[in-house]
Symmetry: C2
């Protein structure tokens, strides 16, 4: 037995498709007798409207898309993504929408954007000039960018990455650290577009370091490493860290999950945090509060970001006007992974 279509119900009742549709969607437009008969027969046959056809007809899908810069396993290996998801989910809940995760297909965002049946998109760090944005435009899809550069006329949601990175760096230098490593996160290969936030933070770190360290201090050095935004990535980067001679006394990381991986691995090889190496993360994921010592980090509101983006998107779907830029509040959260450098490093 195949699917029961509206046509089958129409034939079984003797009414037209229109009338059957009205029985469900605009009950007052038909007679009571008619409606009841149709509903009874429909229930009897087990009629469920084909959602695809329904969506096509209505011109809406009841779902919004989250365009991921990486595949799902990699993206969600970072708990910070889960926070953003939770924020978006709050709005989905209240608006009765589902959420479609759109990973790159064959390493390309384009296919997903072309073929996703969604009412709008939330993107992560999408560059205004990319071809992907071009397609989104052609499809007349409203979209919001989280952590991306503004300037394409579509709204962005973010924090002051540059300033916050600078704040973290100033704090570390003030504690006496002069040999500092920044660990940034590797963007997906196909996603050169995703580097805006990383660049902002790098500039912030570098600038603050240059400002805070006395000019010409020969011992001062700012180094740069990168790894995947995962626990394993953090653990792996320690192998590069320990190669550095002399060992840096402070490490600033662009992602908490990486910082935690680093801390784990440092413990394993017998180094203390913050005794031997001070550590500053970025994000303030829940995990940063459950490790010991608790992670000093740049706290940014992941859930709020997601919620703000989703709310803006919903407003766009209703045709309301939205602010082009939403800057949320972040702050340096002092906890237990930064101390003065060890004696030999001063």
């Amino acid at each position: 037995m195949g699917r029961v279509t509206i046509r089958a119900v129409a034939e079984a009742t003797g009414f037209s498709k229109t009338t059957v549709s009205f029985a469900f969607n605009d009950p007052n437009r038909i007679g009571k007798q008619t409606r009841e008969k149709i509903l009874a027969v429909a229930a009897d046959l087990g009629y469920v409207p084909n959602p695809g056809a329904r969506n096509l007809s209505l011109g809406r899908h009841g779902t919004i898309g989250l365009l991921l810069p990486q595949n799902i396993p990699r993206a969600f290996a970072n708990p910070y993504m889960s926070l953003i998801l939770q924020g978006i989910g709050q709005v989905c809940e209240s608006e009765g929408h589902t959420l479609t995760l759109i990973p790159p297909i064959k390493e390309s965002l384009l296919l997903g954007v072309r073929s996703a049946a969604v009412d709008g998109l939330i993107t992560l760090g999408l560059d205004p000039g990319s071809e992907t944005v071009e397609v989104i435009r052609k499809r007349h899809l409203p979209f919001v960018t989280i952590d991306g550069r503004s300037g394409n006329g579509f709204p962005v949601v973010g924090i002051r990455d540059r300033e916050l990175a600078g704040e973290a760096m100033r704090y570390v230098v003030e504690q006496g650290h002069r040999r500092v490593v920044v660990v940034s996160i590797i963007d997906a290969r196909d996603f050169s577009e995703g580097s805006y936030v990383r660049n902002e933070r790098l500039v912030g770190y570098q600038h603050a370091f240059d400002q805070a360290v006395s000019a010409g201090d020969p011992s001062a050095e700012l180094l740069h490493l990168a790894c995947d935004a995962t626990l394993a990535g953090g653990r792996a980067v320690v192998e590069q860290l320990r190669e550095l001679k002399p060992l840096p006394s402070a490490v600033l990381v662009m992602s908490d999950i990486v910082a935690i991986g680093i801390m784990e691995r440092l413990f394993e090889i017998g180094l203390q945090v913050p005794g031997d190496i001070s550590l500053v993360g970025f994000d303030d994921i829940p995990e940063a509060g459950i490790v010991r010592p608790q992670l000093t980090t740049v706290s940014q509101p992941g859930e709020d970001k997601g919620r703000a983006a989703a709310e803006i998107l919903m407003r766009m779907l209703r045709g309301e006007h939205v602010r082009p830029e939403t800057v949320l509040h972040g702050r340096l959260l002092l906890r237990g992974t930064v101390s003065r450098p060890p004696a030999h490093a001063r």
Copy 2:
């Protein structure tokens, strides 16, 4: 300027809609000249096929649905859900599918299932007899259940919850614990269907306790508490725990994230783990390995569960035969949160 439809391209080129469609989807069926002209004009107009219409016509959506028993924020407050998601995501990646998260709408799963434009569903702990399953059937949607009871003819993926819970309990009793608390997790209000796994584990705990404790031991007692499957839920349940006199010496928890919340809070009120209270979790999320002491837990393969479910679903979509039941491997993972009971509790 409105959307560019296939019709617009047909009119602009002078060919029919069919021919335009062939230019994209079956290039060899039309002349080279024709194709090139059509492609040029289409590119010029900025034609992007309407995905909704395309999906309707093809009878497939290129997305699978994950039916969540709770709203997105609550579901993903537990990192274990993220593991399942990552497993599913691996398959989405390789099959070029997107993933639609379907939370309950107005506390009801039914609406989501009726209106989701998906090729198939993965459900979490859905009861075979529920009305939701009825609708899934009517829609002829293939689906797979993770952590649910088998018996509706649709495949299930799970572990031996009962046996594993029993194993954890036996271990704890063997360590000398006689006053034990089980902390289970509260199902979503509207999702009475979700309790299968919880019941299985409860039976396993209880049975093993009864077997392992000498009959008639008056000091032996197994108590039962419940909370949300979140860090906050774990922290909150400690307030109930500390009311118990005498204090239990061991707590078995159905979720790692809850166990970690409990451990956090116990530390705050000055109790040691495992010195004062031994703790066993369930799941083996990454966080269980980063807390100190590391959490003793029942390890179950969340990623594998997600991947297995998604692979089975893909096979169903291809019309291939699938095994009705997939039982994955779990094991008791001994780490640092269980010791012998403190002297006063022996």
